[in-house]
Amino acid sequence: MHSEALWQGKRHKWIICGRDTGKPQKIIDTNQYMVRTDRRLLILEPGGIELFSAMLACALDWAPIHEITDLFASHQDPDIISSLGLWDQALPKARLHAPWLWEGFIRHFGMSHIEYVALPDDGGVLELDGVNLQLIPAHYMHSSGNFNVYDPELKILMSGDIGASLEPGQPPLFVENFKEHTRYMELFHKRWMPSNTAKNDWVARVRRLDIKYMAPQHGRIFKDDDVGRFLDWLEQLEVGSALRTANR
């Protein structure tokens, strides 16, 4: 699994783990992000069971096991957090930050040692060694209980499934040609995002943030003007496509 530090702040850095050439072919490719401080490591969207071994090896390159103290799951999907039962065995002491709505569901993945920190609907702050990360509500985008993580110092929005693209092969980490890139995002957003109201609400909320990088859980990362281009593109996109198909 490829890993590299992408952004460096005063007291923390963001690391991406992904583009895993060793993963089984038919599972969707995912980006895992990590925030490293002096003494702690937070894994954002730790991933599925199939990725666990590679992900553990990757995380250990950045921090010893007892410094992996926090996990974050934006929502309940298997590609986000089905590895929980294994992390639960692996980590001596850790907390999982995830929507309150999904606690009873996520615990089905197996959780005896890790503490569940239930995130309220209006979000909040995840404090990591003095670094404050904001939890931005993104409900119904696509999950009914869903959060993004915003880093105001480095101006990064970890957007979970929003901005995701399904692109074959091993694409580069960053979007290079936004217009070209939309074809890999269209189906995903039309089908996996259920509500135009929720979508527009999210776009309005996110426009108030100062974002330099938008980092989704699948596919390429948006930077600088491409963030705005993405918000414009999403705003005009009609989502909930299966509803129209079903009512035909």
Binding site: E4, F52, S53, A57, A63, P64, I65, H66, G85
Partner: protein, 216 residues
Amino acid sequence: MAELNVLKQEDIDDLVRQYEGRSIPRFVASATLASELKSTIHYAKLIAISSKNAQAITARAGEWGQGFSGITQFIEEIASRSMVCAADIGAASRELSRSAVKLMNQQKFASALNRSMRANEAKSEELREILQRNLRDQAQLEEETNGYYRSVRKLLTEIRDCTRALKSIVANCRIEASRAGPFQESLFTIAENIENAAERISERIAIGLRLMGLLT
């Protein structure tokens, strides 16, 4: 590229304490070992580079450098063998971690099957067949895991022997450096660099062996 983690002996004591009586899972100890031993490759490379530098100096030094020159080839061979061993340890430890994860999943499955069999005794015969298959898979995985374990241990021993050999060569390096006249200082520095790198490798090996202890 990730930073090179360097656990100290006291960090491992701390780690054991943090699990509060739970045993550290095999897949964690082996993945940690793979990560910790990565820096060994880096230090072995430093030794190889020092040896190349020594070759360049001794070539310039002519007769003054003849004694040291005879040793450099040997140093390079050991450094190169250490690099291969370290890379192999990394690969074998990662495989060990993977198979230990699979084994744990199989064990969890077996335990769930046993619970189902107790809950539904009438159907337990059907489940017994699945359980038997699972136990066979477990045995195979156990064997695989033990195989990787043995490989890692063997490689650790080999790299430890390489480091011991390097340390004893450093003594010869110093003797030869002292006979190198105007090149003495440069060659002393090289001997010191090799010694330092060998020392760092020794520390990593000691950590590796501690982690191996947690795997049993």
